[in-house]
Structures are given as C-alpha cells and as structure tokens.
Amino acid sequence: MSQLRRTMLYVPGNNPGMLRDAYIYGADSLMFDLEDSIALNEKSTARFLVFNAIKDIDYGNKEIVVRINSLESGIGEEDIYAVVAAGVDVIRLPKTETAQDVLDVEAIIEKAEIKYNKVVGSTRMMAAMESPLGVMNAYSIATSTKRLLGIAIGAEDFVTNMYTSRSADGSELMVARSQILMAARAAKVYAIDTVYSDVDNEAGFRKEVALIKQLGFDGKSIINPRQVNIVHEIYTPSKKEVDKATRVIEASHEAEKKGLGVISLDGKMIDKPIVDRAERVVTLAKAAEEQ
C-alpha cells in the first residue's frame, strides 16, 4: 500500500470549471461525482461532462475516481459504461450494503471493459458504506473482489439511519469508523473517512482530521480544495518519526543485502508491519516535501 490516498477531492460532475481545475490543488485522488451533488434532471448532462473530462483533460498520473449512482437508481449502469469507456481508474460505489452490491457492479464493469477493449480487471473499485447494514457487512464487502482497493464511510446518510446527527466530537461515528477501519485493515484495503462539510470551520476540520489520523484512516474525502493542505499537513510525519522510519528501512535493506531473514535494529528484532509503517512514514514525508 505505497500509494497515498490522504485526500480524495470531490468534484461535482456538472461543473466544467471545477473539472478543469480540480487537478491543481494537489489532492492525492480526484473524485468526480455523479451521485448526490447532481440534481436529478442533470444526471445525464453530468455523465457526458465527466466522460469527456476524463477523456480529454490531461490529469497527469493523478488517480481519477468517479462516484456513480447506485444500480437501484436505474442510471448506475449507464454511468458505469460511460466512465469505463472514458478510461476511469476507480469506480466508487455509493450506499453499499452487501458484498453482492459490489459484485453486481463488478459484473457490469467487466461487461463494459470487454465492450470497450479495456483490460478486464483494470478498473478498480471503492465502496462506501452509508448505512448500519453496510457497516455491519464491512469485512465481507472489503473482501468481495480483488478490484476493491478501499472502503469508505459516508457519514451523512449513516447518522440519519442511526436516528442521530453529526456532532463536533464525532462520538456518533466512533463505532462505525472503527468497524470500517478494522475491516479495511483485515482485508488489506484502504480506509477513507467521510467528508466534513462546514468548510469555513477550519478548527473543527483540523480536529476531525487529527482524530481520524489517530484512528488509523489512510485519508479523508474532502469537499473543498481549501481542505487539501490541512489534511496533508496533519498527515505529515514529524522529523523524529521520519528519522526513526529511515533507520528502520536502512536496517531492512541491510538485512536483505545480507540475506538475513530477521531484521534487527539497535539489537532489537523488527517485524514486517513495522517496516511497512516505516515505508509509509517516508512516503508521507516525501509527499509533504513536494507540496
């Protein structure tokens, strides 16, 4: 899991100016939205726009995610065909409740890949859980297909389903966040946190990012470009962390060179997860420098 997904920037699929500019804010992934931010009578218009944006605009090596409408809505299938034809990297499923939901979408993705001469399996998937049932099924969803690279929690619908609303400290999301995270780690996929919609409340946003980082999330979905740097800043490891990670990695290289099965540093044995984490710390630090 070397690729960073600290920030996944929502871009309403019906706004040409934002589709053109989304790239410049430095988010790790861009997520073009065909779902909740698009009014019903603009669904097909947005689909054309996202289709052409992916096809025509040079987003460099930026990961492009499209949040499609659910299959139940009756328009999800058309969304899939359009974005697969355009060459999307990742399709994000909203309102996922069961592993079958993922498999149903996957089946259509596969048909589309064949139809448009894409390598079968090249389109990756993400699933967002937005209901208690989805959260309960998090592990089986996370392990439903190899295409799935991550799971996310969508809090707005979730709290409604839980008969509550979002609060500053996020206590109502504690269990769901933990459950998603545990499922993601068990399934070895990414865990992405929900959006924070009060764009002007920077202090509140910082608090929430610090919280989800501490919980262990890989990153957060964000709705405003102004939030990108804040997340990246909080995810930037301290100098001490980086130094330590560097030493761990050096030790691991050393062991590899010597053909040793056991890595040791300062006389202590180091396990594989520690090396993994060290690599992640270094990657985060590098990304922060580039910003």
């Binding site: 100016g17 500019d21 410049i24 804010y25 002007d200 470009p225 102004r226 740097n229």
Partner: protein, 514 residues
Amino acid sequence: MKNSLCREIPDNILEQLNKKPYSSPFREVPDFRAVGRKVVSVGPNDKKLLDSIDEAIDKTGLKDGMTISFHHHFRSGDRVVNDVIDRIAKKGIKNICLASSSLTDIHYPIVEHIKNGVITSITTSGLRGELAEAISRGVLETPVVFRSHGGRARAIESGEIRIDVAFLGVPSSDEYGNASGERGNSICGSLGYARVDSRYADRVVLITDCLMDFPNLPGSIKQVDVDYVVVVDSIGDASKIASGATRFTTNPKELLIAQKASKVIVNSSYFKEGFSFQTGSGGASLAVTRFLKKHMLEDGIKASFALGGITQPMVELHEEGLIEHLYDVQSFDLYSANSYNRNRKHHEIDASYYANLYTKGCIANKLDIVILSALEIDIDFNVNVITGSDGAIRGASGGHSDTAASAKLTVIVAPLMRGRIPTVVKSVQNIITPGETVDVLVTDRGIAVNPRRQDLIDRLNKAGVPTMLITELQCLVESFIGSPKQNEFEDEIVGIIEYRDGTILDVIRKIKEV
C-alpha cells in the same frame, strides 16, 4: 519607430507630443523646472463659499479649451465628475480637456459629452465600462493619454498637464477650504491623488456634502490651495465610495495562487526583519497578506512599512504590530479610511510622494516587494492591465509600472487562464509594465521567474520551490484553450500609453468592427 520593447510608435505621435519612445526604466534624466500655478491672493474679507457648481464654474473663469481635473477617490460611488461636467455642458462650454486621476464605469455619461463636443481630450490612469468601450471604438478624436499614478504627478509638475480648474470632491471641508477625507457623510480616507491637483491647478474648487466648522483639521487639502468651496446635496453613494469591509477571498484558486506567491516571497532574500511590501487590491494579491502574516508570526519578522492602496487586512496587520508604518495614497474600505483617527503611523501620502520618479526619492523606491495582478503577461514578462483579450480598454495603469520598476522583487499573481481567455500569452495586447521590471509570475499551475533573475531561480529551486519557464506556461495554456485568433485593429490610435518617465511605451488602436 519601434521602441526598445518592439512596439511600433508612429513618428507623428512622437512628434505631436514631443516625446521619446521608451528605452529603459531609469535611463531618462530629467532636465526641467517644476511649473508653478498662477498666484492668487485671497484677502481677509474674501469669501470662498459659493452657492452652486454653476457659480464656481463662472467664478473660475472656465472657458472653451481649458483643462479640468478630478480625482478618483470616490471610485464607483462618485457623483462629482458627472455633475460638474453636466453643468459645464449646460453652460455651452466646449473643447474641454479632462485630466482625471482615473475614471470608472460610473462615468459613462461622459460618452455623450464627447459626442456633443464638450470633452475633446482625456488623460487618465484608466477607463472602464461604457466609456472605455466607446473610446475603444473611436468616439474620441484625440487619443487618450494613459499615465501611471507616478507618471501623472510627474506630468503635472513638469507642466505637461496644465490644470486650469481642479474640481475636487471631498468628504468634508470648512468654508475656507480645509478638507478631510476621513470625516464627513461619505468618507474615502486618503485624498492622496487630489493633493497634487490642489497644489498645481490654477484654480481649485472643493465640492462637499458636509460643511464643517472652521478649522476642519487635521486635513488633507489645505486652505492656502483652495479658491472656492461648494456644498452640494451629495458627493456620491457612500457605500460605493468606501465598501464596508475588504474580505479575504474564499476562492480556492486565488488562495492557491496567493499561497504559492507567499512561498516565493518567503524564500526570496527580501523576507527579513524590516522589509517593506505592497499588494494590489485583487483577490489573490490581497490574500498574499494573509499567508505572509503566518510566516511573519512563525519567523518573528516584522515589516517596516506597507504601501499603496490600503485595505483592512493591512491595517489589521499594522494594529497587530506586524507592520510598523502604513503609507496610504488611497484607502480602499471604511476600515482603512477610519484608521487615521487611531493609528498615528498610518500616513496619508500624495501621488508624487508615492511613485513619482522625478522627485528626490518617492517612497516606492524604498519598496522591497510588490505583488501585482495582470490581465495578460507575455513570454517577455511584459504586463498588460489596460486592455482585454479583445483589445478593448477595460483597466487602469495605476501604480503598476511605478511600483514594478521601484521594488526589489516584483511578483505578478494571475490565474493561467480566465474561462477561455489566456493570461499568459506570446505577446501582450498592450504593455503597461515592461518585462524587465517584473521578476516572478505566479499562476495556479506554476511559477515562472524572469531569466534575468538567475539568483532568484537558484534560491527558489534550492528551497524546493519548483519553477518553470514562462514559455512552458504559455504552451500549457494553449494546450487547454487552443490558440486564439489575433484581434484586428484599425490604424487609428485611440490611446497612448506613457511610461512613468514620460516616454512612450505603447499605443492602443481602434478595434475593427466585425
């Protein structure tokens, strides 16, 4: 002939104006004496207070062929310019030269007065709206002369602009001509541009809607410079003269540009204790202040002064002790207009002190960093802030070229494109600021440093701030928008752009109608 920036300046224009073409920012050496106004004596029994603008026009002896002047401190809230010119027109006076410090969209009625022969020539810093459009289409027979704020002060002092009557709207005055911009019904703060006119015009008429008891002090314009005072119902729309508050932009793209610009500044050699800076009033340019503040606090650095059009964020930095002095030639909002009352180190300065090259040292000379915006910038770093992409006039020269030439670090902030209109182009439509006085361009998609500043390129790259060639940015923009069709122009010249030293930088031609 072509000037040093390869702009074709017709010989007959140079001859008519008795001007040289532009060569380089500091080459020309002045060789003249400043002119003086006609001396008048007001005795102990003379009264200055008049009943109406009409009476003032009569008393000043304004007649055909004379030059009148105004200031632009009232921005789009101004009523004075339109009211005075209306009265002049009603009196049947014709062939007037209008020498305003600037003109805005509110001044569209002037179009009619051009058509009916009342106004036959104009010099200003800028033009906007319908008036600008009409002039771009050739409504005025003689070309408008565009001057920078410093350049205008120079031209007044050298006698190139000889003002017969200055009609100066002021927020308050006493009956003897002591005027203030910070007290009154509609306040504008600094009266910096008007002060030059008040000292050099043969006749000075103050127009106010707030008559104060004598003496109205402290003040901006002084009784010794004023012939008459007229009280009118209203000098304009207070809310448009000084907007309530200048808020920081929330536009993410402007913030991104501002953040990148602050990175350039912080990593330059000029960001150190006691530095000085100026920002333009555009969204990105203003927002630089906010990011600078963060770095100033982090690094424990304070600025010795900030200059220019002063806005609320600047005053706040001053009040927080991060900026020692404010030099204010124009206050942009109520907060800054009110600041004089409580901040002793908030100084009103006039246009000459601000940016006139031919003085014994304008304050712009002491400027370390200036952040300016642009409508267009070309691969030679020449900047256009006067004409739009269609070639029509829609901007103002302002202090752009003055501060760019003076400051040690000139940063242009602009989006790479606006809709489908490119900002970075091969060659700008018109030059206001020569590329040799511009150091860095910061856009949302990359930073380009003028190759003349290799020192800066090295410093930035060493600090990990990536830079690109400006030609790369220009190619990038074309990859998005395609290449625009060149504008077509007539031979007729509608505008002449004078550099701050009085040489001719460029001409604006009449747009060809399709």
